[in-house]
Amino acid sequence: MSDWRYRVAEHRSTLLAALVFVAMFAIYVGNHSAGFSANVVQTAANKGVLLAFLAIAQTFVVLTSGIDLSVGAMFILTNCLASWIVVGSAAMTALGVAGVLLAGLVCGAVNGAIVIFGRLQPIVATIASGAVYFGIALALRPNPGGDVSSDLADMLTGQLWGGIPASLVVLFAVILAIWLPFRRSSLGRAVYAVGSSEVAAYMSGVATRRAKFAAYTLSGLFAAMGGLMLTFFTYSGEASSANAATYTLNSIAAVVLGGVSLFGGTGSAVGAIFGALIFRTINDLLFVFDLDPLWQPLFLGIVLLISVCIGSVRLLRIRNRLDLFG
């Protein structure tokens, strides 16, 4: 029996994303004037981790073959909220962090409820809810500002022993504490089954609604984690509509780069993280190779197109177009 081969095939896209990232990052530090130093890694990590959290958020929903266009708005909303309440004594700060995460959970749960009970398509439901969340963010922070517990912020954005970036450790801890148990849980199986074939899952007695609800809720939670980290990096809150839009779209790009199928049912958050890191590294590469920043969007777009094409090579192999529908 050679079951391990299928295990490898199962994680092929994740492994591929990891390899691509390592190669790109090696090129990056190889050409960076400061070389492979703790500071270079820390800066890169901090930039990558924000998108990584949003990519994980997006992964949960995409696995159910849905899409969450409100992740950027939830990210910004929790950022603005954190700049108000994650301050003061240690106890107050802890309470504030809990409050921000709870806000993310609530936003995600509302999305889930609209999609499931309102029977709206995810794309429409989350565009609308995202606009509402961004509106709340604007009400919270009409102008950029606010504050955040600098002790906590410095701890989570600095370096640990040996120059390991703390933000990466946070990301790693979250994966260990939430993603891995999720993958092993019956809830996780339900999410994959719903994304693969909702009818088959439903007819097998799987609680399909619960699975979808959980996916949207977890999406909100991870967007809030991203929002918290953003606050720790900037020490402030800002209701930036540009950021909300960019991070939403980039989270989808990261998910695709990380091998999570937009048709649902395949992929993992680990792949999505590497997708996010790849996406950030492309930016950095353009920087070290001194490419005009004006060309960046064009170049990013081309990379994205190519990677999506690689992902859909399967379709090219289908000889008869009727097979696509049959």
Partner: protein, 495 residues
């Protein structure tokens, strides 16, 4: 015009799908101006034949000749260009567009690239009026009845000036009046010189319309006769003649306690159905498509609400409102389209086998992977599923093995009554016998089976009791091989 040649001819046609023959050794010539009917049971190869004629499929071997010259279609466009058109049973059209827009779909009237909407509306309405259809050209297609949509599809084919027109079971959804309108149209088209291919189960329609009739069975051509020189009896005999291979396993299993009983159960699409299934027996439901069998079992499964009568499970009345209720009782539905309704194709075999049972695998919501592996191994061994390992995706397996996965997941969940909806559609001979062996194993294990099949030899050989459905009602019930095959087919057709 090349006189003396058949208009359209199939020479030694074969069609294989991943090693399975859908059609084999077909030689058939359509004479110009004839109405040629094609009859055969489900799975006889009729729909594959249509797809070859219209260019949607390409033959694996053999060739087509149009007016004596060899032709090869790369796609439906090539066939359309010759004037070959098909009206399908399931309406293929755009329900959100107007009737006129559908009439001219892909063939729009335009000037300088802009649609001439008004002209299309006028011409479309004139066409509909001329054909005698009471349909408004500006109506939205989706608002019409299925029958009316069928007429629109026919009108669309007619206005393109077709030379070769194929009707695939066109009257399935039509009222008597609509059927007559359609027949008038077919005769008019035929009088204008179009060659007609008419595919139907309904023998009386064939005798009413056709000049000649060809019978297909198991992908082979059995006979081509002139309708004037044959009888319904003869055609039925051609359709059901025994297959050569003896595939069907029938072991004597003691019949046990009652599992399921319905008393005068009525619901959408069926009425007054009373039947009983016991442990160790197969109850076959035979009938034509649309006879109400699928509606009956999906209602048993809580998909539709019953409107009358009652359901008893092991002699106790039960209310089944949702799928989960039926599953909890111990029923399992193996759907006809198992690929998209029964399986998560891009997930592993083990995953699929464990899918209904995850709530009892492990604690605190965490899946015990050891137990999951044991479960997968157990069913793979028990059902002899040929898979390199539980991690391989379900889509990589053969049809028979996929069917076994669907059975296996329900066995694991403790199901005792299995409902198979057309379990052998589109599977090859070897897989068929594997599936029949699964039936035998299930009966040995004390399960009961409801077998829905439109393939008469199958239900005939396998069913301990055979219930014949027609028009949403049961018209007869027979013991194992106590009736002639011809009798049963006649009951189902209502001839």
């Amino acid at each position: 015009m090349a006189d003396g040649y058949p208009l359209f001819e199939l020479v030694g046609i074969e069609k294989r799908f991943t090693g399975t023959y859908a059609l084999k050794g077909i030689d058939l010539a359509f004479e110009p101006g004839e109405v040629h009917a094609i009859a055969g049971e489900n799975g006889a190869g009729k729909s594959t034949l249509i797809k070859l004629l219209t260019g949607a499929h390409q033959p694996s071997a053999g060739g087509l000749r149009w007016e004596g010259r060899p032709v090869a279609f790369r796609g439906p466009g090539d066939a359309l260009a010759l004037g070959i058109n098909a009206v399908h049973q399931e309406v293929v059209a755009c329900p959100h567009l107007s009737v006129a827009a559908n009439l001219y779909l892909g063939d729009e009237r335009a000037r300088h690239g802009f649609l001439r909407k008004r002209a299309m509306l006028h011409e479309g309405q004139r066409l509909l009026d001329r054909l005698g259809f009471a349909i408004r050209a500006e109506a939205t297609l989706g608002d019409l009845t299925i029958g009316q949509q069928q007429l629109v599809a026919t009108a669309r084919a007619a206005h393109r000036g077709v030379r070769f027109l194929i009707f695939d079971e066109p009257t399935g959804y039509l009222t008597r009046q609509e059927t007559e309108q359609l027949f008038r149209l077919i005769r008019a088209l035929n009088a204008d010189g179009a060659t007609i291919v008419y595919i139907s189960h309904r023998l009386e329609e064939i005798f009413e319309l056709a000049d000649r009739v060809t019978v297909l069975r198991d992908g082979r051509l059995v006979s081509t006769r002139r309708t004037a020189e044959t009888s319904e009896r003869e055609l039925i005999r051609d359709m059901v003649a025994r297959p050569i291979e003896e595939l069907h396993y029938k072991r004597a299993v003691p019949v046990g306690e009652k599992l399921l009983e319905t008393r005068s159960l009525s619901g959408p699409g069926f009425a007054d159905i009373s039947l009983t299934v016991r442990r160790g027996e197969i109850v076959g439901l035979y009938g034509l498509i649309g006879a109400g069998r699928s509606e009956f079992v999906t209602t048993l499964f809580g998909r539709h609400r019953s409107t009358g009568g009652e359901i008893l499970w092991q002699d106790a009345p039960v209310a089944i409102r949702r799928e989960v209720d039926a599953i909890t009782l111990g029923m399992a539905l193996v759907p006809e389209s198992r690929r998209d309704q029964g399986l998560c194709l891009n997930l592993g075999v083990g995953f699929n086998l464990a899918l209904p049972s995850y709530d009892r695998l492990g604690r605190f919501g965490l899946v015990d992977r050891g137990a999951e592996r044991v479960l997968a191994r157990r069913q793979i061994d028990r059902l002899n599923i040929v898979a390199p390992g539980p991690g391989i995706h379900a889509e990589a397996l053969s049809g028979g093995n996929q069917q076994k996965i669907v059975v296996g997941k329900w066995l694991e969940r403790g199901a005792r009554l299995f409902i198979f909806d057309e379990p052998t559609v589109g599977v090859d001979v070897g897989t068929k016998s594997e599936i029949y062996r699964v039936f035998a194993d299930l009966l040995d294990a004390g399960a009961g089976i409801i077998l829905i099949s439109s393939y008469l030899p199958e239900v005939y050989d396998l069913s301990d009791r055979l219930v014949v459905f027609r028009g949403g009602r049961t018209v007869a019930e027979h013991g194992w091989k106590t009736a002639e095959v011809e009798t049963i087919l006649t009951e189902a057709i209502g001839a």
